[in-house]
């Protein structure tokens, strides 16, 4: 372990190697969709898109759970708020078709307001009491989305909202196929680049937040709220900011999800989704940005890999599909969650506590 960390330190301190590393990473990120669509199929580019959205979502939850230590089991509510904000402002539902650069801040703002709405009454709650209230909040939002089709039709109920506008940049619809310099770019492929860019911005914001005065205050509150208060941290504002900022990321991710999918319904925002995002954060390494990224990418791609292998493997082993592949895939997924946590209780790629407390500050 120490050899590896020494190696990493060496690489970190050498600017030239670092630069080459970034260039290689950039090339890998640009060429990944070409590689995927030519080897395992075009659907994988789309899967990658959703993985990136989930990564954004997980980073948002990481602020609440990982940095500030507030267990939130209803995080998907903010994702839902963002998605529905986009859906209502850019679809035939109300005949509104606002451009995306107008909706994005609106969605983020609305989600942030909901974050504060959730945060304000729960400031006195601790640990698992907070968890159950956030869970209830998430369910309340979902039930309203599911039932607000009468007496006034707002959300179109369980059917959901269809024909949501895609992102349009300079008159070009990003979900269509475009030809640039003689290369065909499918909609999913273009979205991939947009999402990678946005995710990079998200990571940058998270890294800067973590090392900021606010980030250190969050970590102080997480480690010991009473001591943090004694040190003059306004725990109320700090916690509210965690909820609001986390919700903002969720809202943005939700909007992107709605525009990519072109369709939203309450079914996408069930409790299990909240739990999944939490699993990404904890399994990756709570509080560690790159660990969380790893967790999100793994947990979104793993079920898809299992989906594409669950039936063929059975056929080659037993000559027929005996077990419902959908059930088998989730069963293996559950097993994977348990095994990973048993082997690495602090997550796959945890940040060291000392580093989080910071020698930089």
């Amino acid at each position: 372990m120490s050899i590896i960390s020494k190696g990493i330190e060496k690489i970190r301190s050498n600017k030239r190697i670092l630069f080459i590393g970034y260039v290689l990473l950039g090339i890998a990120l640009v060429s990944l969709p070409f590689l995927l669509s030519n080897t395992v199929g075009r659907t994988w580019v789309r899967i990658l898109d959703f993985a990136l959205i989930y990564a954004m979502l997980a980073l948002g939850l990481n602020i609440v759970v990982g940095f500030a230590g507030l267990l939130d089991l209803g995080y998907i509510a903010f994702y839902a708020v963002g998605a529905y904000a986009w859906a209502l402002l850019a679809s035939p539902q109300f005949g509104l078709h606002l451009p995306f650069w107008a909706i994005l801040p609106i969605g983020a703002g609305v989600a942030a307001i909901f974050g504060i709405l959730l945060g304000a009454p729960t400031l006195r709650l601790r640990g698992d009491y907070l968890a159950i209230v956030t869970l209830g909040f998430g369910e309340i939002i979902r039930i309203f989305l599911n039932n607000l089709d009468h007496p006034v039709n707002v959300t179109n109920g369980p059917i959901g909202i269809n024909k949501i506008d895609p992102i349009v940049i300079a008159g070009a619809d990003l979900t269509r196929t475009h030809e640039i310099l003689g290369i065909q770019f499918s909609g999913a492929h273009i979205y991939y680049y947009v999402l990678v860019l946005l995710l990079m911005i998200t990571v940058l914001i998270c890294v800067r937040l973590e090392n900021s005065r606010l980030g250190r205050a969050w970590i102080a509150v997480r480690e010991d709220e009473l001591a943090a208060q004694a040190m003059g941290i306004n725990t109320r504002n700090v916690k509210l900011l965690a909820f609001a900022l986390g919700a903002t990321f969720g809202g943005v991710a939700g909007g992107l999800f709605a525009s990519l999918q072109g369709f939203v319904s309450p079914e996408s925002f069930v409790l299990l989704e909240s739990i999944m995002v939490l699993c990404m954060v904890v399994l990756g390494g709570m509080g560690h940005i790159f660990g969380v990224l790893l967790g999100a990418l793994l947990l979104t791609t793993l079920p898809e890999i299992l989906r594409s292998t669950a039936s063929p493997i059975q056929e080659s082993l037993f000559g027929a599909v005996y077990i419902d592949p959908e059930a088998l895939r989730m069963l293996l997924f559950g097993l994977a969650l348990i095994l990973v946590m048993l082997v690495r209780p602090t997550g796959l790629w945890p940040g060291t506590t000392r580093k989080q407390l910071g020698n930089k500050g």
Binding site: R126, Y129, V133, I143, L226, G334
Partner: protein, 309 residues
């Protein structure tokens, strides 16, 4: 007024079941500080095993006395849930006892996903209907209808809860349980076998959960592989409402939640002038929870935990 009493009876039936399941959550929480997310699935397994046993007996020994049949099914179900729960604790929670707080939560979620899908593979995706081996009489009580089954549910739950409270408060085992929940280390030093006590807690909770599962399946005449999730969630809510870790609180919270839900569902339309329908029953339950926790952050009967000195 008739509707009101009807809703109160429905609420008490629902609440007794919530209370039985909530006890399982609250006991484990009291000792380990862990939200045992898999408990709802254990309840589901209880219902499914009992149903499968009854269906088997009904198919092969149709002459058998229905009471004997139900007793065999219930025993099978309770024992299998106890064994299942013992192994869940042993394999998924015990190795993580010293790990960060959220690690066992994730394994609990993993177990929950695992059990749900295992049940789906074994028993299929369809709703399982309970074979009609009993016919229950419906009685009139204060203008409301109550079936013998509903009376049975309320009475049996009350007996089981009393039994549990007696065990925890007056037996040697119960004293060891309470000591363990105060401090595992000190209880261990005083000669309590911690691992045994924790296993025992899980097993007892699973037994109560299995009974609750059977009662729910009998009451609604159906069982389904996904029934445990929502039931577990509601029961956990009930446990928190009453003050988690507190047995009396779990019972109170369960009954309260059942009553709130059924009365809320019956009257929510009238209260809001028809604006909100009975689909908002869950909203109502969660809103009450949030309001209670705003004023009493540790639940109705929860102790005020003082800040660490």
């Amino acid at each position: 007024m008739d509707i009101f009493f009807q809703q109160v009876i429905n609420g008490l039936v629902l609440g007794s079941v919530y209370a039985l399941v909530a006890l399982g959550y609250t006991m484990v929480y009291g000792i380990l500080g862990l939200i045992n997310f898999a408990h709802g699935e254990v309840v589901m397994v209880g219902a499914m095993v009992a149903l499968a046993t009854v269906a088997y007996l009904f198919g092969y020994f149709p002459e058998m006395n229905p009471i004997v049949m139900v007793l065999i099914a219930a025993t099978t179900s309770v024992i299998s849930c106890m064994v299942l729960s013992y192994f869940i604790e042993r394999l998924a929670y015990r190795p993580l006892r010293k790990a960060p707080r959220l690690a066992p939560l994730i394994t609990a979620i993993g177990i929950s996903i695992l059990l749900q899908n295992l049940a789906m593979i074994i028993w299929g995706r369809q709703y399982k209907t309970v074979p009609k081996i009993f016919s229950f009489e419906t009685r009139e009580f204060l203008g409301a209808n109550i079936t013998d089954l509903q009376i049975f549910i309320i009475v049996l739950s009350a007996i089981l809860m009393t039994l549990l409270l007696l065990i925890v408060n007056y037996s040697k085992l119960g004293r060891a349980m309470r000591a363990t929940s105060e401090s595992q280390r000190i209880a261990g030093l005083l000669g309590v076998n911690i691992n045994k006590i924790i296993s025992f807690t899980f097993v007892i909770g699973a037994g109560l959960g299995a009974v609750a599962g059977i009662l729910v399946a009998a009451n609604y005449s159906v069982a389904h592989y996904s029934m445990g999730f929502m039931l577990g969630l509601k029961a956990f809510t009930a446990a928190v409402l009453g003050g988690i870790g507190n047995l009396g609180g779990a019972v109170l919270g369960g009954l309260l939640l059942g009553l709130i839900e059924s009365i809320g569902a019956g009257y929510i339309g009238d209260i809001t002038g028809g604006f909100l329908g009975s689909h908002y029953q869950d909203v109502f339950a969660f809103l009450v929870l949030i309001i209670v926790l705003v004023f009493r952050p540790t639940g109705i009967m929860g102790e005020r935990i003082s800040e660490r000195a």
